[in-house]
């Protein structure tokens, strides 16, 4: 860990933080009246370990040249990213209430020109890995040691552009590029395996010459180990397929596709928050 991450929280503290940010997600989407709770709750643990343990960054200097780059290619899960950025000090937690409101830097999908710390404006699925590949190429050209992380949804992998990028990254030996798949198994029209099955996903990525780990995306220790493993990659890009649960932490949202893209009303939000706070 580099000093610049400035965070020394142990796993128990991280777990508490993730719980706090799950509440942030519910409350900000409730206040916005629209948004995507399911995929935000599935990705939050992956983001938490990354932002507190691995990402080399400085919230006070979001354009620091030596920073690691993180692209949330599944941009609809930005409530999770906004919660992490607020709790990490990029902007006041208070601002989370402005999600999706007129003139807010917290757009419905992340906008790099409105919110410092966003590396790339996403929301159109399929483009993030290509952009991350370009960033990783630039780091190699400049002989810099910063790394590029791209978080993708599993449904997103149905976009052909992702596979163009998966094909290209090993050609350039991009061991400074990490693709993290939030494999929650759900998408708007239903379960991924029914809409357009991706399996065997890990095998496909291996066949594309990526180093691949499969982990439990809600087990913070396992996530940490996977990120450490990715750092050891030599000569090849690294993919982490994180098995997650859409809506993780809120029983009535878990694996319920209805909560992919709808906001909880006050009563449901209160129930969700209670469950999160009482959770394991």
């Amino acid at each position: 860990m580099t000093p610049a991450t400035g965070a020394t929280a142990d796993l128990k503290e991280l777990k508490d933080l993730a719980r706090t940010m799950r509440v942030d997600i519910i409350r900000m989407i409730e206040a916005a009246g629209s948004g995507h709770p399911g995929g935000s709750l599935s990705v939050i643990d992956l983001l938490t370990v990354l932002y507190w343990r691995f990402l080399r960054h400085d919230p006070k200097k979001p354009d620091w040249e030596e920073r690691d780059r993180l692209i949330l290619s599944k941009g609809h899960a930005c409530p999770a990213l906004y919660a992490v950025m607020a709790r990490r000090g990029y902007f006041p937690v208070e601002a989370l209430k402005t999600l999706r409101k007129l003139d807010s830097p917290l757009q419905g999908h992340p906008d790099r020109l409105r919110l410092p710390g966003i590396e790339f404006s996403t929301g159109s699925l399929g483009q993030g890995l290509s952009v991350g590949l370009g960033m990783a190429l630039a780091a190699k050209l400049d002989k810099k040691d910063w790394r590029t992380y791209v978080i993708l949804g599993d449904g997103e992998l149905q976009e052909g552009q992702c596979w163009e990028a998966f094909m290209a990254a090993p050609k350039f030996g991009l061991d400074n590029l990490v693709a993290i798949v939030d494999h929650n198994g759900g998408q708007i029209d239903g379960p991924v395996k029914e809409v357009m099955d991706l399996e065997p996903l890990a095998d496909k990525l291996r066949a594309f010459n990526w180093e691949v780990q499969v982990v439990d995306g809600h087990d913070l220790a396992a996530i940490e180990k996977a990120y450490l493993g990715a750092r050891l990659a030599k000569g090849r890009p690294h993919a982490i397929v994180a098995k997650t649960v859409k809506g993780e932490g809120v029983s009535f949202m878990e694996n319920n596709i209805a909560w992919h893209g709808s906001a909880p009303k006050k009563e449901d939000a209160d129930r969700a928050v209670q469950e999160i706070l009482n959770g394991k």
């Binding site: 790099r112 290509s130 960033m135 552009q161």
Partner: protein, 315 residues
């Protein structure tokens, strides 16, 4: 006479600029022999990235390079690269990345390869994108200056549209291209009180427009020729000036008349309340296979057709 395809001028400029600009990188999608980036690739292999027949990934990779301080130039045929409009919309325009998109093989001027290889709607698509600058040179001098400007001076996404076919010089030695401006490249010897027409051309048919104006002068009609090297943002003020002293405006483009130069001229005139007829010369359908000269003749872009467009009765 340079008599050079604008894609050739582009390729030469890449080598020249690449020698001193370490941040200049070039991306290709298996067409580097046609888009003229091979010389750059030979000179700077470490700064050339061959991404295979996968244009949308190339667009995204270019955006990532640009966000990390590089000046990426990506090339393919105009139709293939602009075919990936949505990645261009988000990764280049919306993210306002400093990406230079170069589409060669513009229009029916490519000839025998036929419609599937012809960029015929690319300007319309790119002109609709906020923050996208759209450039189209008419000869070697203009191409060189545009390439230099987009790489050395302008920060932001650019679309540069280039010809496969050779282009004679239409600009005098020492001429300076001004970004964003339509410039008059040919005037009749005797300046009239009112021109029969002002031909506003861009890209491939620019020499045809000059030839037509010369022919019309012989017939006793005063027609001038203007070259729209920048298609977006569009120089509406120039259109307004031409409208005041011309009986009609004739737009000439190797592209569909909808959404391209012809539309831009009409928009500029209509938004200013200018009562001037606009004759739009360009494609109204897909193209086909034949020699470039045959196609320019069949689809109304050759000089005799432009003469006719300046003189015909308007109904």
């Amino acid at each position: 006479m340079a008599n050079k395809a604008t894609r050739e001028s582009f390729g030469e400029m890449l080598v020249e600029l690449g020698a001193k600009n370490e941040n200049l990188v070039v991306l290709d999608a298996d067409l580097s022999k046609s888009t003229m980036t091979q010389a750059f690739k030979k000179k700077h292999p470490e700064r050339h990235f061959e991404l295979g027949i996968a244009e949308q990934n190339m667009v995204g990779a270019a955006a990532g390079l640009a966000l990390s301080g590089k000046v990426p130039v990506l090339t393919s045929f105009a139709c293939f690269v602009v075919g990936r409009l949505e990645p261009i919309r988000v990764s280049a325009a919306y993210n306002r990345t400093n990406v230079k998109i170069v589409g060669t093989h513009a229009g029916i001027g490519i000839g025998e390869d036929g419609t599937s290889q012809m960029g015929l709607e690319d300007v319309a698509a790119m002109r609709a994108l906020p923050h996208m600058t759209v450039l189209q040179p008419g000869d070697d001098a203009e191409a060189r200056q545009q390439v230099r400007w987009m790489i050395e001076e302008h920060v932001g996404p650019v679309y540069l549209r280039l010809t496969r076919q050779k282009m004679p010089d239409v600009h005098a030695d020492g001429w300076t291209w001004e970004p964003g401006k339509i410039d008059v490249i040919w005037e009749p010897a005797k300046k009239p009180a009112k021109y029969q027409a002002t031909l506003i051309a861009s890209g491939g048919p620019v020499p045809c427009a000059v030839e037509a104006a010369q022919e019309l002068e012989k017939k006793g009609f005063a027609v001038r020729v203007a070259d729209a090297g920048t298609l977006a943002p569009f120089d509406g003020a120039a259109v307004a000036r031409f409208a005041k002293d011309s009986q009609r405006l004739v737009s000439v483009e190797d592209h569909n008349v909808n959404g391209g130069l012809g539309s831009a001229v009409c928009e500029a005139a209509a938004e200013r309340g200018l009562a001037v007829p606009v004759v739009r010369v360009g494609l109204r359908d897909f193209g086909e296979s034949a020699s470039p000269a045959e196609l320019y003749d069949k689809y109304g872009l050759s000089a005799p057709h432009l003469v006719e467009a300046c003189l015909k009765n308007l109904d």
